[in-house]
């Protein structure tokens, strides 16, 4: 068939398809007709290339096929329902599936944290190897029992601290994750370094006797925030493992495969950081509630969170 006849025979169909791509609402044909029409465009492209028709025509058909491909393979599923499903079932099931990495990351983070709290009770002067004098003075001021609000200086508003916790804490979580790409080294560094700093502050303030102010401030958000750091670290280690030991596929394929669960872990971790920032800004600084109430709320937070990760989503995971 001559090119001219070929173009004449199909021109109307190509123009209509182009109109559909430009604006599906003003399309000359119904949306259900799109897939068969797209397949005919693909057929025309294959024929035109095979019959060596002019490059101009082949380019135009390649482009129609490319745009049709994008329109056809775009996913339009509702996201809102999937977010809820992920929070109720998918996320805890994923954390359980990745429990070895989550435990490894927890060890790297909670190990130095708890170790330093214990060490600083016996050797308080050791804190000077870990924190600068200005930092120590700053923490003194923040948790002075004379404060009416805890964890921040008097004039700071809750909303400002909320913004600060989002900007700072979630960024640390993201860096802990991204660092995993460097063969896991970045994640290990951020986990251990954050464990050391938090452990040093907690151990020091307990030792100097700011127990009530410090622990009543951190109790409420501690479960969400600390576990979120460990999960972000686990997501980073997932990437690092793909680089170090890809198994029987190429490093590149292993990385692509590892990125999928890793980024899903990060969705969950980011939401936990967000919730932790909210609690830290609007509940933790309150002094209207007694020390006991705050500690009980904190412990309840840990119990609920551990219960969530151990139990939630078991039935739907089996489905």
């Amino acid at each position: 068939m001559r090119q001219l006849h070929f173009e004449e025979a199909h021109a109307k169909e190509w123009d209509e398809f182009e109109k559909f791509l430009d604006d599906p609402k003003k399309s000359p044909f119904a949306a259900e007709e799109m897939p068969p029409r797209y397949r005919r465009i693909c057929q025309s492209l294959a024929l035109a290339a095979d019959r060596q028709y002019s490059p101009e025509l082949v380019d135009r058909l390649n482009q129609l096929a490319l745009r049709g491909h994008h329109a056809l393979y775009r996913n339009r599923r509702r996201e809102s329902q999937r977010v809820l499903e992920f929070l109720l079932a998918g996320f805890p099931a994923l954390v359980r599936a990745e429990r070895r990495l989550v435990l490894a990351a927890s060890l790297l983070f909670f190990g130095p944290l708890l170790g330093l709290i214990a060490v600083l009770q016996a050797y308080p002067e050791f804190v000077h190897y870990l924190l600068a004098p200005e930092q120590i003075a700053n923490f003194h001021q923040m948790y002075d029992p004379a404060n009416r609000r805890l964890g921040s200086r008097e004039a700071d508003s809750s909303l400002m601290m909320f913004g600060f916790y989002i900007w700072n804490n979630i960024r640390i979580g993201f860096q802990t994750f991204a660092g995993g790409l460097l063969a896991g080294v970045g994640s290990i560094w951020f986990l251990a370094a954050n464990g050391v700093v938090i452990g040093a502050v907690a151990g020091y303030l307990t030792q100097v006797g700011y127990t009530q102010t410090f622990w009543s401030f951190v109790a409420g958000h501690s479960s969400l925030e600390l576990v979120a750091i460990a999960i972000a670290g686990a997501a980073g280690l997932r990437l690092g493992m793909a680089v170090i030991s890809p198994g029987n596929v190429s490093r590149r394929a292993a990385l692509v495969a590892a990125a999928r669960p890793a980024v899903r872990l990060m969705y969950g971790a980011a939401m936990m950081f967000l919730a932790a920032a909210f609690v830290e800004a609007f509940w933790s600084p309150l002094t209207e509630f007694g020390f006991q109430t705050k500690i009980i709320v904190g412990i309840a937070g840990w119990v609920l969170l551990l219960g969530y990760f151990l139990l939630a989503g078991r039935s739907s995971a089996a489905r």
Partner: protein
């Protein structure tokens, strides 16, 4: 071929051609996005400034979302383009040529933190130059490529002449070469055009410069379908 293209096979049994975008247009697009990000945070700071500490909080929340999530949001909503990418006509696609969705967009945007190291996208640039598809580490992990957006093909303009059929069937590559010569005829000097036109001797035989050029332009008219 030296061209930076990537061919993708679709389920319909055809191959689509994607034109990959290199470090320079991507860096330019990034700088446009960066300026826009700074501008957004600046405007929010100006507007929320009178609220005092609460205003600072709002500005910090804005800064967080604008830096980490907004690029990914644009890439999922705007056919793989951020405002900067749109300005330079490039877009992010999955490796198989389909539009990116949240997981891939978020993966590549979070891993920007690593590509940025040690300073100013050092790792990202090395990774891009070392990979065949100009992928930075975030693209490798997310399985995405950055490509030039398909532009609407404009009609070819070249001198009209009575069509001349080539003495034998030309391959697609050869047809392209003839068409491109005809398209560039108006921008070349007459001497250079004639010099080039004498080269494909199977087509023009031993014709001299100006007649060879006229003959090739005639063939271009034939190939373009002006009969």
């Amino acid at each position: 071929m030296l061209d930076t293209t990537r061919r993708v096979a679709t389920p319909e049994g055809i191959e689509l051609t994607l034109r990959l975008a290199g470090p320079v247009p991507r860096a330019l697009a990034w700088s446009v996005d960066f300026v826009l990000r700074v501008a957004v945070v600046f405007v929010v700071m100006m507007v929320a400034g009178p609220l005092g500490a609460a205003g600072t909080g709002i500005a910090l929340i804005t800064a967080f979302f604008v830096e980490w999530l907004l690029p990914a949001w644009f890439e999922t909503r705007w056919n793989g383009q951020t405002p900067g990418k749109r300005a330079f006509g490039i877009a992010v696609l999955n490796d198989d040529g389909t539009p990116v969705r949240w997981p891939a967009a978020l993966t590549r945007n979070l891993l920007r933190a690593v590509d940025f190291l040690p300073l100013f996208y050092g790792i990202g640039l090395v990774a891009m130059l070392a990979s065949r598809d100009f992928k930075r580490l975030g693209d490798l992990a997310a399985g995405t490529v950055v490509v030039y957006q398909a532009e609407k093909t404009s009609a070819r303009v070249f001198p009209e002449a009575p069509p001349v059929s080539p003495p034998f069937a030309l391959s697609l590559e050869e047809q392209r070469a003839v068409l491109e010569l005809a398209e560039r005829a108006s921008t070349l000097t007459r001497e250079r055009l004639e010099e080039l036109a004498e080269l494909p001797s199977p087509l023009v035989g031993s014709l001299d410069g100006s007649r060879a050029a006229a003959r090739l332009i005639g063939m271009a008219n034939y190939i373009a379908g002006r009969k």
